[in-house]
């Protein structure tokens, strides 16, 4: 499958005082049409920064993002090149991402209007999109506060769909929602990806949902992708200790009173990343070497890529136990 979004060696820096903080440090990613890529990791590991850099809200310091054959540049004050309107983002908080003082219909119609569609046509489109995401057509005449969190997230999705995007970056789109809306909104995204053959980068800290809906998974830790591959393979035999730690921490609703494994410590400050492998201070399997040199990025026999000294021999992934 030819990727629509291709991220090559992308780094993103923030300036904090006179210090440069590298929140994303050399990331390679790609997503194709009709594909869902799950991007997981703890908070503070750079997932959202990466998402924003991919759509161009943030400027990369190094590397590049290619969308459908063209290099993505930062969104400025002026109009965006029409080509990149097909690259859309949905945010976690549907309360913050909609304008409380504008009618839903007008907000959804903005995209098509910029494309030169007449107002009545754009509103008509907004109404049918609202219907598509499971809301009544007359919602165009209403305001965000008249809807619940799950409904607002549907509105945000309808707005992203308004200009027929080829790729959507969804940053924690269901984390703020109730259990029953979570399932419904996740299903909606899966259906839309199939119906419109879009690419979807699904950013989430919830591995169990990512496992369910993603075709591939990329695991991120402190600005770097530590493991990436097909979802089932990663789930069945995680080859990076961080992936395994994330999975072992999930509590299961099986009634077995099992306390999941915790991962002591926090994601370090990206201004002062640890030497060698960035995960080594928290890694239950760390070896002396891990603190002194960066692990190589190796491909395993099942097509997975991983950065861990334990897997450097390559071939079949080595089973991890802790």
């Amino acid at each position: 499958m030819k990727p629509i979004v291709e991220v090559n060696n992308l780094s993103v820096e923030y300036t904090r005082g006179d210090q440069k903080v590298r929140a994303v440090a050399g990331v390679d990613l790609h997503v194709g049409a009709g594909e869902i890529l799950g991007l997981v990791g703890e908070s503070g590991c750079g997932k959202s920064t990466l998402g924003k850099a991919i759509v161009g809200i943030l400027q990369g310091a190094e590397g590049e993002v290619n969308f459908d054959g063209q290099k993505v540049s930062k969104i400025g004050r002026g109009q965006r090149v029409a080509h990149f309107r097909n690259l859309q983002m949905i945010f976690q908080d549907p309360y913050g991402s909609l304008n409380p003082r504008r009618k839903i219909g007008d907000q959804i119609a903005d995209g098509p209007r910029i494309d030169g569609v007449s107002k009545s046509e754009a509103l008509e489109k907004a109404a049918s999109l609202l219907e598509r995401v499971g809301l009544p057509r007359n919602a165009v005449e209403r305001y965000p506060h008249q809807f619940s969190g799950g409904q607002r997230q549907r509105i945000a999705i309808a707005r992203a769909l308004a200009i027929s995007p080829k790729v959507i970056i969804a940053d924690e789109p269901i984390s703020a929602l109730d259990t029953s809306s979570q399932a419904a909104v996740a299903n909606l995204l899966v259906n839309l990806v199939e119906e419109f053959q879009m690419g979807l980068i699904f950013i989430s800290h919830d591995l169990s949902i990512v496992r369910r809906i993603s075709d591939r998974v990329a695991v991120m830790y402190l600005g770097k992708i530590v493991e990436t591959g097909k979802t089932e393979e990663i789930w069945n035999s995680p080859s990076h200790p961080y992936t395994k730690a994330l999975m072992s921490a999930i509590p299961h609703a099986d009634g077995k009173a099992f306390i999941p494994l915790d991962l002591p410590g926090d994601v370090p400050n990206p201004a002062y990343p640890p030497s060698g492998c960035r995960f080594h201070p928290r890694c239950p399997l760390a070896q002396a070497e891990c603190g002194s040199r960066e692990p190589m990025h190796v491909s395993l026999s099942d097509g997975r890529k991983v950065s861990c000294i334990l897997q450097e021999a390559g071939n079949a992934p080595k089973a991890l136990t802790f």
């Binding site: 869902i36 259990t179 029953s180 419904a184 800290h205 919830d206 009173a257």
Partner: protein
């Protein structure tokens, strides 16, 4: 021994369109050293239940029925009476430790304030106790931590400090409202481990309120599922989660990403939870229930006792079949 006994609790809140019952006719017990989980979606009344035990209901909120806590009747308590109990015998931790801790005060001030108020200990004694508490909740370097402010800690560490504060006066009951919802799974696992240890070492009774069935499975002995302010099902956690009897419980479990084999699709419950003041008549769940019959639309749902330790409120009881029990 029963520590808390709630009978026919109804909480009435004042809304823009008049009074509305946020909690309806709720009854449950908690034994000493037991962890009770209350699950439900937002607006199901789980937090209002907790706040009525704490005496912290919103303005014009009113509790009726009975809340018997360790021999005392809390319904009808005056603010002054609540001040005597709150923070000493009953303590609460909240979802967001950034807003429940004061950003401008040192950890020492916040950890010792209610200790000095309730226990009348000296500043020095309170400090020793504060160090002990920080050690109990596994904050590294307690001496330095005492001098620090909340912003200097990560979310997980702040929640540990909030737990330390709650434990300061050795409460009999700890209420944890979404204690791990704002945390990463890796950090959440640490907090779950800590709460489990505390229950064992201090014989603490805990109410855990969350919509996360995984968290409740890990931690709780008993589980109560709430919908639209009322109980729909309760019983031992393992039984409720493995053999749910109420259609709503079944729906919540089916909606989990781990369950069901439907490819990428999850099994969602149709519709949305009702808003306060707009709860449907009869069984409030009937509008979303695939088993609903006409008799569900009025009256109160049938209470079904199962083996004396479980109960559901459902007139249809669709899973009461030999096959249904072990689906």
């Amino acid at each position: 021994m029963t520590l808390l006994s709630v009978r026919n609790l109804t909480v009435t809140l004042m809304t823009g369109s008049g009074p509305a019952d946020a909690v309806r006719n709720l009854s449950f017990d908690i034994e000493r050293g037991q962890i009770l989980g209350i699950a439900g979606e937002s607006g199901s009344g789980k937090t209002m239940t907790a706040l009525s035990i704490m005496g912290l209901l919103p303005y014009k909120g009113k509790a009726s029925g009975s809340i018997n806590f360790d021999g005392e009747e809390l319904v009808g308590f005056k603010p002054k009476d609540f001040r005597r109990v709150r923070g000493k015998d009953v303590a609460m931790i909240f979802q967001d430790p950034m807003t429940s801790l004061h950003p401008m005060l040192t950890i020492e001030t916040q950890l010792t304030e209610h200790l000095r108020h309730h226990r009348k200990v000296s500043k020095g004694e309170a400090r020793v106790r504060a160090l002990e508490l920080l050690d109990t909740v596994k904050i590294p370097d307690p001496e330095t931590a005492l001098k620090a402010h909340p912003s200097q800690f990560s979310g997980g560490m702040r929640q540990r400090i909030a737990i330390a504060m709650a434990l300061a006066c050795q409460p009999k009951l700890l209420i944890a409202d979404e204690p791990t919802t704002a945390l990463d799974v890796t950090v959440q696992a640490g907090i779950l481990k800590l709460l489990d240890e505390l229950r064992k070492s201090q014989n603490l009774s805990v109410i855990v309120i969350t919509h996360d069935l995984g968290v409740l499975s890990a931690l709780t002995d008993r589980l109560m599922i709430m919908y639209a302010g009322a109980e729909v099902e309760s019983g031992p956690t393992s039984q409720v989660l493995t053999r749910p009897r109420h259609p709503y419980t079944q729906g919540l479990i089916d909606a989990l990403p781990d369950s069901g084999a439907n490819g990428k699709r999850l099994i969602a419950i149709e519709g949305m939870p009702p808003e306060l003041g707009k709860f449907p008549t009869g069984c409030a769940f009937h509008t979303r229930c695939s088993f609903a019959r006409s008799e569900c639309k009025s009256g109160t749902p049938n209470k079904v006792d199962i083996d004396g330790i479980r109960r559901i409120f459902c007139t249809v009881d669709p899973f009461d079949t030999p096959a249904g029990v072990n689906r």
